[in-house]
């Protein structure tokens, strides 16, 4: 049915589109390995140089602590809440679930202004907590939605069987359901990790102390201050993007499926 000409035309389209998607990224990677702005380093030396001048070590450490904290706490809280919504019937479950859904739609812009001023009153701005707790809240909204959908879809028989065997509710969740839910939990984990790692507005507003800057924030400041050329900036950009990109290359199915199915929060 499909002619040879159409088939080769398809390959041309595929290649052109792939090149278009990759070109800006490759520009940065290529510049990062290019000749240094001041002529001292080149190749991998640029990364060491950017690491030193741009303080990316500090920023990456902060980003890593923030992401790990947000992922661990919000995954645990989401499993608990999703379990309640997905397998139990209780008064107010409908309205309460809509309240959680609201959190998925709500843009950070709507909450960041009062959050900043209220946390400032409490003396909590410029702390680790001001960066992580709002993001835990956002991720719990998504995670609850995500785990509820999973538990609703196929946990009924398992819960019933567990109950007949006399297992407690806690054991049913942690020893029966959670091991089976591993794919859904991995998807949620990588999405929350990516969103947290890439988040910009919340750390920008909450933090002025340089030691508390996350990697994207550090990169934005580096761009503002460093004007001698593009090589080291490009190296910094590659450093900031690499952790999530590497994770994506290994777990891309989880990334793509998660972003398409849980397609509510961006």
């Amino acid at each position: 049915m499909i002619s040879r000409a159409e088939k080769s035309a398809n390959y041309v389209i595929l290649l052109a589109f792939a090149a278009f998607a990759l070109a800006p990224i490759l520009t940065v990677v290529q510049s990062a390995f290019g000749p240094a702005d001041a002529g001292e380093s080149s190749g991998f030396g640029n990364f060491a140089e950017a690491w030193r001048i741009g303080h990316f070590g500090t920023y990456l450490r902060m980003s890593l602590s923030v992401s790990v904290f947000v992922v661990v706490v919000s995954v645990v809280l989401s499993i608990l809440a999703g379990f309640a919504f997905g397998t139990m019937r209780f008064r107010g479950s409908g309205p309460l679930f809509y309240v959680f859904l609201l959190g998925i739609m709500m843009p950070s812009e709507a909450i960041v202004v009062p959050l900043y001023f209220d946390l400032r009153t409490l003396g909590l701005t410029d702390t680790f907590w001001a960066v992580v707790l709002p993001q835990v809240a956002q991720s719990v909204a998504f995670g609850t939605f995500w785990m509820r959908a999973y538990f609703r879809a196929g946990s009924r028989d398992i819960v019933e069987a567990g109950r007949l065997d006399g297992a407690s509710t806690r054991r049913i969740l942690w020893q029966l359901l959670v091991p089976l839910a591993r794919p859904a939990i991995v998807t949620m984990t990588v999405l929350v990790f990516m969103w947290t790692w890439n988040e910009f507005l919340i750390p920008l507003v909450m933090v002025t102390d340089e030691n508390l800057r996350t990697a994207p924030l550090g990169l934005a400041f580096f761009q503002g201050q460093y004007s001698q050329g593009f090589t080291l900036l490009a190296a910094g950009a590659v450093i900031v993007a690499t952790p999530v990109v590497v994770l994506y290359l290994f777990l891309q199915r989880h990334f793509i499926a998660g972003m398409l199915e849980g397609a509510v929060r961006e």
């Binding site: 998607a21 990759l22 919504f85 960041v112 009062p114 993007a241 793509i256 509510v264």
Partner: protein, 299 residues
Amino acid sequence: MPSPRRTASPPGEPRRIAYLYLLPGFAVYAAFLLYPLLRSVQLSLYDWDGLTLGRWVGLANYREIISDVGLRAAFGHALVLMVFFAVVPVCVGLLLASVLNRAKVRGLAFFRTVVFLPQVVAMVVVAVAWRRIYGPDGSLNDLLRAIGLDSLARGWLGDYALALPAVGFVGTWFETGLVTVLLLAGMGRINGSLYEAARLDGAGPVREFLAVTLPSVRGEIAVASTLTVIAALRTFDLVYVTTSGGPGNSTSVPSYEVYHRAFELGRVGSAAAIGVTLTLVILAISLVINRIGDRETTR
């Protein structure tokens, strides 16, 4: 001691223990999302500089969104961005996905990995890359000079007329892959016999697209539109890093105005009003698009 009936009750039975499981998540959610949202509504009714005592002004901050030229422009810019973030990617994505779906070519998995990649790169990194591309000595100008169009070369992000489309095009680049992958997944689920029936009726590729493909992926189009329209409305990092709303205010958008007013101009009430309005607009748009999607698909 719990009654034996409750410990033995199957799922679906009313269970009060559910509240205990909900509590920790809900507590964080309520403290760091719900309460700030309500405070945002409250702040939006005041004229407050963030330091001294605020003054009650009622709905004046909301009226300003309609009457203030700069703010009206910011919302107008968001509409332009929607064209670049949503309309163009959905149209291009439909075209690409349907062409690719017709012939099952090899290497589709690799292709998917590549065109989806922009989605996982931090927006700040994307912005740094495109700032370079649009720069006076950037690769876009190099390209124009190489093909003899020297007169078109310029600092794209510093141009009053072209800065907004330039920022918008980054959105097109960013979203097209996502939309195409989403639509390809939808088209992959279409029953092949529908196409055979259409071909037996003598339908060409265009009729086939209009009669079979398009109606079958309405749900996916709704999802793609919701995602991309919301992304357009929430563009903050991109504008902050590439143009800071400039030149003049030619690329200012609502989410940038929230930041600018609250933390640079000391107009906290106005910023809160914009944030609340933005939330309402996003809720309304996702409701409307999903309504349309639901009505037209019988799933």
